[in-house]
């Protein structure tokens, strides 16, 4: 196997401890999609421009396409597959995306959900301008971002007991 090197990566994915050998050149996107079949992690550019591959690493949103799989060693990774409740119930932000018609082709949706989760988990009440800036690492060509904004804002206010 000329030119290839493998390394064992142990990490927690959606609450489950996992271990696999990865090509040291592989991105976290590749590992999650190919080794763990977490296909909610989408590839739109593979250079960190579109945000479709965003996952949470120790609670922080990252473009997994520009994060090496080997860096995930010892980390806690969350993808959209990990958002459902114990009985399969949708999380508040997933439900808000449905209710606010924030989903169209759906390809950018999982990435947006992960960044939204980071925002919501902070417990901070952001202004409209701040929310827009925090979400601006994601590109969407279907929605004009309008309903995504509504969904995130509504969930933020709900969590903070404002509505």
């Amino acid at each position: 196997m000329e030119g290839k090197q493998y390394q064992l990566v142990t990490c927690t994915i959606n609450g489950k401890e996992t271990q696999t050998m990865v090509d040291v050149r592989a991105s976290l996107t590749d590992m999650l999609r190919n080794d763990y079949r977490m296909t909610s992690v989408k590839k739109g550019c593979e250079v960190g421009e579109c945000g479709a591959c965003t996952v949470l690493i120790d609670g922080e949103a990252y473009n997994s396409c520009i994060y090496l799989a080997v860096w995930a060693e010892g980390k806690r990774i969350t993808t959209v597959e990990g958002l459902l409740g114990p009985n399969g119930e949708l999380s508040d932000i997933q439900q808000a995306f449905i209710d606010e018609a924030a989903v169209q082709c759906g390809f950018c949706t999982p990435g947006f959900l992960m960044t939204a989760l980071e925002i919501l988990d902070s417990g901070i009440e952001y202004s409209d301008e701040e929310l827009r800036k925090l979400l601006s690492g994601h590109l969407c060509r279907c929605t004009g971002y309008e309903n995504i904004f509504r969904a995130v804002k509504k969930t933020m206010l709900q969590r903070l007991g404002r509505i």
Binding site: M38, E81, I98, A101, C105, G106, F107, C142, E146
Partner: protein, 761 residues
């Protein structure tokens, strides 16, 4: 009533949980990987390709160069319905791999390897020798005698030229007291930038090619792959799962033919062809850049005496959708502002740019920019109020187009404009923004459009539908018109529930199109899905209902004419008594020992009508003159797309189109190296599509005049929202600064030149 309700999308839960499967999610991990070798010249021929070094790379399975493709099956790529009349067929100018290079990034060889790294390394290791010719990027330049030649069959580079003549323009200009207004208007090459790049994979099974593709048009792709490979069309099966946006780019055969061909070259093994973002920009399709030359002669009373239009459409390197786009743009000119004396010419011209095809609006975003910018230029010269001028001159209610027979049944333009005026507080702001000085100025502008819903009578309009009754009384629905993100499946479910008298939840739309299983339909394009599928869904639903009620008659002995289905129950309408649940009937029908029936229906509806869709955009901008920046502060689109099937999804559709329109007007343009024709900004960092930060709240409103020709009263909304936005913004900049900027996007480099010319800076 299920129609008209903002029900949640049928696919939303799958899409927020990651369960919705797109092409790459379905492909087996063991697939061989194909990578394309793209030319690094913009015009010329491939002299040789040395594969020696590439062959040595471990993991390489097969290298195919343009010289290896012995059977030359030229094929057309446009996602149009096939025509059995050779005169109406699309231009067949593509090969799966080509020796004759016509754009920077043309497909000259391909590598199939065990993994992506090996495939990519092998492509890089190919040694290509070219004979290079000069390039041309501009359609007007390409029409000159000494311009570089691109297609041997088109020595003047003109793919097609068509004209419209009405009255006598030359004579009519001579009328006394006319004012002449003239302008050139220019729109950029832009790319669809759906977030899922094109991808497909192909494998052989039972002697047939099975191709799973991110396409809008599975049934059309089957035909094109057959043509490209010289195979019987029945030996090809296309499957279309969820797709991550299309916007017209995937209304073209992109790399399905090449992937299928490569599959045949490796013994039918599974081959995946996944293109990069960079390839999506340089080697897929783009929107035609157009140049418009408009001359209008106006009478002192503000009416048009004579008008002239020339359109130069930049086709790029291959014919794709070709002249149909410029022709559509031209066709709008005499219809939007009817005038007795009109002379129009449209030229579609080959250049060495990226191949232009269909993109949301099919010529109308370009046309709307030119025509509606010109309208405000006319108003400025004549000293007229832009709204009053439009009320006087726009296509009036009752107008019928001689060719399409489309009729403007209502006073939609005025109704839409009235809503826009109110929401924007238009006249107050118009007054407030008068006589501004200083570096920062505000302005308000607007623009209108009309749009044809479907493609009749230019092309075939047909839709087929299949419905199957399940044991529990629920119904599966299949149509060939694809879900591409717009929400079509949800609209189909609502229509089906309406026709059959079922609760919404008892309708299951089969979202995947599979040419083996899905009834024939040509796919998602134009703004036709709800309009065209509406006919076949209504007709097929009625057939199914008839069969259900026949069976209900057998079970109940009640006369069929007294039976109906209401909320999932068979009901005697004379007294409203529920006779049985549909589920009971369906179970009995399937398992009956006396009379077992699988209750289904299937039918085709050929649509021989079309419908005008109307709307407008109002925009308020703030212009920073020293920084040459225009920012949209408030914006609204108002549409009359007939009856709304699902208001929330309609609104969402408008938002997306507006966002795309703002990008078209302010930031998006593909830049080309003039020497090599290479795309300079082939990525999402340097190509500026709108982000979360780039526009204000998007407002959408509707006027609902049920379209009389439509099965559910609905008509075009998919593309229209993108059409009027750029010109509304441009007219707002004119209002703010007094400067007419006739080239989009209105980025600082463009504004700087114009502000300098006009002495603002």
């Amino acid at each position: 009533m299920v129609i008209g309700k903002s029900l949640p999308r049928v696919d939303a839960a799958d899409k927020v949980t990651g369960r919705a499967k797109y092409t790459d999610d379905l492909c087996d991990k063991g697939a061989l990987i194909a990578k394309i070798c793209h030319s690094t010249i913009g015009n010329g021929i491939v002299k040789s390709i040395d594969t020696t070094e590439a062959e040595k790379i471990p993991g390489v399975v097969k290298i195919v160069t343009c010289f290896d493709v012995k059977e030359k099956h030229y094929f057309p790529t446009a996602g149009h319905p096939w025509s059995t009349d050779p005169g109406h067929q699309d231009v067949a100018d593509r090969l799966v791999l080509t020796e004759r290079v016509r754009f920077y990034g043309d497909d000259i060889a391909a590598v199939v390897a065990e993994d992506e790294v090996a495939a990519t390394r092998a492509v890089r290791a190919l040694k290509v020798e070219y004979e290079e010719y000069p390039v041309v990027l501009d359609p007007v330049e390409a029409m000159k005698e000494d311009a570089p030649r691109i297609h041997e069959a088109y020595p003047d580079n003109v793919l097609k030229h068509t004209s419209i003549r009405k009255g006598n323009y030359e004579e009519a200009c001579k009328e006394e007291g006319l004012t002449k207004v003239e302008g050139w208007y220019e729109t950029p090459t832009v790319q669809h930038s759906h977030i899922e790049n094109f991808i497909c994979y192909c494998y052989e099974e039972a002697g047939r090619l099975n191709l799973v593709a991110s396409t809008q048009i599975p049934h059309i792709i089957r035909r094109i792959v057959g043509q490209a490979l010289g195979m019987d069309w029945g030996r090809i099966r296309i499957i279309k799962p969820y797709i991550g946006g299309g916007f017209g780019n995937k209304q073209d055969a992109l790399y399905e033919p090449l992937c299928a061909y490569l599959c045949t070259q490796v013994g039918g093994r599974l081959v995946k062809l996944d293109v990069s973002r960079e390839e999506t920009f340089a080697c897929n399709r783009v929107r035609h850049a157009m140049k418009f030359h408009i001359i209008s002669y106006l009478r002192p009373d503000g009416s048009y005496a004579a008008r002239k239009l020339e359109v130069y459409s930049n086709q790029g390197a291959y014919a794709s959708h070709g002249h149909s786009i410029a022709a559509k743009a031209m066709g709008a000119f005499p219809q939007l502002y009817p005038c007795d004396n009109v002379e129009c010419d449209a030229y579609t011209v080959f250049t060495n740019r990226t191949v232009a095809g269909a993109m949301r609006g099919y010529g109308m975003p370009q046309a709307s920019f030119a025509y509606e910018s010109h309208t405000d230029d006319v108003c400025k010269v004549m000293g007229l109020d832009p709204i009053a001028f439009r009320r006087k001159n726009l296509m009036p209610a009752g107008y019928v187009d001689g060719f399409s027979k489309n009729e403007n049944y209502f006073d939609s333009f005025n109704q839409c404009m009235d809503k826009g005026i109110e929401v924007m507080d238009y006249y107050r702001k118009k007054e407030e923004f008068k006589n501004q000085s200083g570096d920062i100025r505000r302005g308000i502008g607007m623009s209108v459009f009309w749009y044809n819903t479907a493609v009749w009578p230019i092309s075939l309009e047909t839709s087929s539908c299949r419905m199957v009754l399940n044991q529990d009384g629920s119904v599966q629905v299949q149509v060939g018109e694809t879900e591409i993100g717009q929400g079509a499946d949800t609209a189909y479910a609502q229509m089906t529930a309406e026709v059959l008298g079922l609760p919404f939840k008892m309708v299951h739309v089969v979202t995947t199109q599979d040419t083996d299983l899905t009834p024939f339909g040509t796919g998602a394009y134009a703004s036709r899905q709800t309009y065209t599928a509406g006919f076949s869904i209504r007709q097929t639903g009625q057939l199914l209902k008839e069969r259900i009620l026949q069976y209900a008659h057998r079970l109940s002995r009640m006369p069929e004419c007294n039976l109906d289905i209401v909320d999932g129950n068979v009901v005697r309408i004379t007294d409203g008594r529920v006779l049985m649940a549909l589920g009971e009937l369906a179970t009995e029908a399937l398992y009956s020992l006396e009379d077992s029936q699988h209750i289904t229906s299937e039918s085709t509806y050929q649509i021989k009508s079309n419908a005008y869709s109307f709307g407008c955009c109002f925009a308020e901008v703030e212009v920073d003159i020293p920084f040459c920046r225009a920012e949209v502060k408030k914006i609204i689109n108002v549409h009359d797309c007939g009856r709304l099937i699902n208001p929330a999804l309609a609104e969402a559709q408008v938002h997306g189109g507006m966002s795309m329109g703002i990008g078209f007007g302010l930031t998006e343009t593909m830049l080309y190296d003039p020497k090599t024709a290479r795309v300079l900004n082939n990525n999402l960092l340097d190509y500026k599509l709108s982000t979360f930060m780039d526009h204000p709240r998007l407002e959408a409103d509707f006027v609902e005049n049920p379209e009389p020709t439509s099965a559910f009263g609905t008509k075009a909304l998919g593309e229209p929202p993108a059409c009027p936005v750029a010109s509304a913004i441009r007219n707002a900049v004119l209002d703010a600064t007094g400067v007419s900027v006739n080239q989009i996007p209105l980025r600082p480099a463009v504004l700087f030149e114009r502000f300098k010319e006009e002495g603002l800076i």
